[in-house]
Amino acid sequence: MQTQLIDACGLHYQSLNAYIRKAAGNGFQHYTLRNVNGQRFIGAGLSRSIRITIHGTPGNNLAAMLDGAHIEVFGNAQDGVGNTMNDGRVIIHGNASDTVGYGMRGGEIYIRGRVGCRVGIHMKAGLEKSPVIVVGGSAGDFLGEYMAGGCIVLLGENLTPAESVGKYIGTGMHGGTIYIRGEVPRDRLSQEVKVEYVRFEEDVKLQECLEPFAKAFAETFRFTEAFSKITPVGHRPFGSLYAH
């Protein structure tokens, strides 16, 4: 399969994305983008069988509404990776900043490094799809805010749980699961969640989430400590808030 090489240096995001969409319409499936710096919406809405490799720093909303394509980034991504993503896979070898997987409803996002705030905000699962986000490093505040479904795994490599997580984990959470390596301090968790401790070897769902992550980054895992498994207390956390 022929790979399209694109030098994105100085290209406006609209030209870059229009070019990719047009080429995809003509049957090109593999793209390598070099010198990417800040171009937004790369891969937006692209469907199955498209592969994009990015070198540089893709702009906000990378892989927004992604519908089956695979995107791999050698570098850091910015805000809103996988915004409203439906299907496909995003692999980031560096970090990503805020709101990774915003409103995501399907597909997978694997991030080798750190992430910013509100990762997995409004993530949701349906009957057929359940999104997954795995982060190798640390996360900022409001991890899994208003989370309604799917799975987030935070590995916090070389960090204690107190270092790897921010505050307000699972604020407004009413579905899905967050796994965090180690014992998360209780005061980092919102009132809407409960926590139990599971071992990697005994939790099939956790293993399923980590397998592609390990493959993407050629890692092998051996966890000595248990994972904090965080789930919502109820389905309607604010059900009685405004009811008098």
Binding site: N37, G38, Q78, D79, S97, D98, G140
Partner: protein
Amino acid sequence: MLEGWVRIPSGCAIAGIINQNGQAFSGEMIARAMTVMHDRSNGLGGGFAGYGIYPEMKEAYAFHVLAQDKTGISQVDELFKENFTVILKEPLPTRRTAGVAGTPFLMRYFLQPQKENADADQLVAATTLQINKHIGGTFVLSGAKNMGVFKGVGYPEDIAAFFRLDEYKGYLWTGHGRFPTNTPGWWGGAHPFSLLDVTLVHNGEISSYGANRRYLESQGYHMTLQTDSEAIAYACDFLHRRHQLPWEIIAKVFAPPHWWEIDRMPAEERELAVALRRTYGSLLMNGPFSIIVGFAGGMMALNDRLKLRSLVAAQNEEWVFVASEEAAIRAVCPEPESVWYPKGGEAVIQLVKENVECHAA
């Protein structure tokens, strides 16, 4: 199509670059960083603050003034004569630039206070506020030693070209691209906002503006520039110059820890946090914001405590960068040694090293 009739998905852009060794670098660098974030602005405001840009005149107060008509300039001349010796008065150098229109009169003054023993800073601050409040259509872009603000209606890169930023060198630059949401896009309403050497660029909105404004007005500050961001600049002046608070403390006034966090602090820390909230509760800034405050000798970047706006920081050798997007930093520093994402309420404060002579303070 008029502003407000069409929705442009966007948000403001901010950036700051400092050289810790105090080495001056061209304003072209901050312009290049801002250019990458073009799509965060909508052409209704762009601006920059440069520090250390007037080394030959560093003992004089440099005033950048905009006026809608010449009467405003004459009135400013009269006002300055009362208390200052005008060392130099000249048009602020500009070049014709596509994308920058409706240019007001732009003047630059270098002033020396006439009375040597008086509180010169207080005099300059009062003069600035007086011009903004009382001389119709006339506003001070900046008035302080060895720094200046360049701003107007246009995209940041066009404003930079218009004001010939490439011809200035400073050890610290901040930049702003505006996407006005609640208030008009006009020359005086572009960022940075300044009082004396303190400048402010802001992405977001201050929902506590009413409370902040009432408090600041009771302290003698009058809001004249039709935006919430102006209040933050005056709050910085109030806390830093008049109340002599360090920037670490000012960050805790603007974005204090929540009460439940204060309850869990060790006694001494708790006492300070409670005292700050009791004393300066009216200057707590609520609502989403990321700001960069520039001042003689350094800068502070800060997010609201719930982290509702973008902010990335990076460091490379003696350089420190902050911006709304990492791409802006990489445009001027492709491989920084470290990149980090400051948390809500966690200030990034970077000062020029103490032993270097570059700033007026």
